[in-house]
Symmetry: C2
Subunit: 327 residues, 2 copies
């Protein structure tokens, strides 16, 4: 079943207003949830909305809170998210980073005590839509081991890098785990094994069994020791800059909340767009001619899905759609 | 055989002065080469010096060139490296980024037409020694496939992230390939296979055979599609910001030169050091008690090696050491 972007957005907004969201916050969050489904990131669109609603009802996310400025040092600002909806906090933070970049060439906003931003790519697209390079990352609950360890101590800490481009922004939205837990669940439900090792089983052996990995919470960092190091650095950066909770602290809590994030924006008049096209053409030239496979740049498939779903409607899980309508 | 840091540094400097390096540039480059050996990065210390000398003699690296400012936009600067020694250009660029960060909280320097910086970590330590967070990256000749392709189109594009810390900086220095070609050569010389797949053989199959991978130049990006995307983004960022050559262009040249790099520095009075210690302690707590293995933070082993080599002398390959002395 497919619904239009507007239907989806309106339903989300209606429910959020009922949950006593201020109009503007409801609008921001409803638009982001609808956009995530429209862009094919179904796990963080409609499918995630019921969990978001539960977190509001349980007081984890505070619909009436707004971020407050803690301190400012040139083109860097530090904010407290006050447990406001993570999407509104992240949108606000990237907006401030865009403003700082437009004033200073580069700007950085760190935020503590925020809540889940849903899909990190959202804020990369936001920066690129404003003509800026955007880099942002978040920490998270521990669900990966560090290299040499056998307990979950690292978050999958998604990293987003976005570069504006007239024909479609280049947007990398990448968690540090080889597979997300959501993706592993999909394989498990289909009773399939992962195409590559995705973590460790209870005997500390590399495994392609999604159920075994979901049990240990030992998802594999990309590139073994390398992703382990990069995940750790992103946590350190987010915490050093925001003064907020680290993965260590977040993991002690009942919910994945009170997280720390960082938004860096760069603006320069000349982004050397012809050179970017040259890079993309060179990269795409490497697809094997004998194969139907293509080489895509980060963000390319998202844009294709967006266009398809704008034309044909957004596919929704009928059960969750009905659940939303009855909320 | 072991030699002292001073002996090594003096020999490097003597040779560089003979090659008509200005005194200050000779000093910078000699110190960096000696530091790389001291820190255990032997591949980019003494062992690399003969190649550097050849590149000077062949006119690839211009000892008398200095970087020139192209334009400035707030806290961002764009420089032309004029094919000066890459270590001097990178040191200068990170210094400018540090100055910009101390003025503006955050600063960014992009440089084009530079030459090999040897070990990226050098400039991370430099930023951290100045009390700043440092982030830098470079592009490079293509030696990895993009996800879905079967030709080398991506550089291993090292990424460095450094955070200052009184007890020893946390410095990640990470190329986008699972194994460097130097590391694969070591395995090949020892007639060993890689512990994990490190690239593709001539039939496009994942392989642990270092010789087969060195032949195809299809080293594996960390995390398959993820490292492929991240390597591409780093090339795009370096080129969009510097206006310099991309991996596509560099790969057409006879030498890996005329490369593009980016240096971002962040300075804030409070780096929340107690919180960083908490992160490191939590991460280190995850080492299995039953095993002699430990969990190290990025930069920890480098510091251990540095201390050992400062105490006992720096291990050198006797043949290359004699070669250096006779230069």
């Amino acid at each position: 079943m497919r619904v239009s972007f507007e239907e989806l957005q309106e339903e989300f907004k209606r429910v959020l207003l009922k949950l006593s969201f201020p109009n503007e916050t409801a609008d921001t969050c409803a638009t982001i949830f609808a956009s995530n489904s429209r862009d094919g990131i179904y796990s963080h669109g409609l499918n995630r909305f019921p969990v978001f609603v539960r977190h509001i009802q349980e007081g984890v996310v505070k619909p009436n809170a707004v971020p407050t400025l803690l301190d400012k040092n040139g083109a860097i600002e530090r904010w407290d998210g006050n447990f406001a909806p993570g999407m509104a906090n992240a949108t606000h933070s990237m907006n401030r980073a865009i403003e700082l970049a437009k004033e200073n060439g580069i700007g950085c906003v760190a935020i503590k005590n925020t809540t889940h931003w849903m899909r990190g790519g959202t804020y990369g697209w936001q920066a690129a839509d404003a003509g800026c390079i955007g880099i942002c990352f978040t920490n998270a609950t521990a669900n990966m081991p560090a290299w040499g360890g056998n307990k979950p101590v690292l978050g999958n800490n998604p990293l987003v890098i976005a570069v504006p481009r007239a024909e479609g922004h280049v947007v990398l939205d990448m968690a540090m785990s080889q597979f997300s837990y959501g993706k592993m669940q999909e394989y498990e439900l289909k009773k399939e094994t992962l195409p590559f090792p995705g973590g460790y089983d209870e005997h500390d052996n590399l495994s392609t069994d999604p159920a075994a990995i979901r049990k240990t919470k030992l998802a594999l960092p990309i590139g073994f020791w390398k992703g382990s190091g990069l995940s750790l650095m992103l946590d350190i950066l987010a915490v050093a800059l925001s003064g907020g909770q680290s993965t260590a602290k977040i993991t002690q809590g009942e919910y994945e909340t009170g997280i720390s994030q960082c938004f860096i924006c760069i603006h320069q008049p000349d982004m050397h767009t012809a050179l970017i096209e040259e890079i993309l053409a060179f990269t795409k030239s490497s697809a094997p001619t004998s194969s139907p496979k293509t080489v895509c740049y980060p963000g390319e498939r998202t844009l294709q899905t967006r266009h398809e779903n704008e034309k044909n409607g957004i596919p929704v899980n009928e059960e969750i759609w009905q659940q939303l309508k009855s909320m």
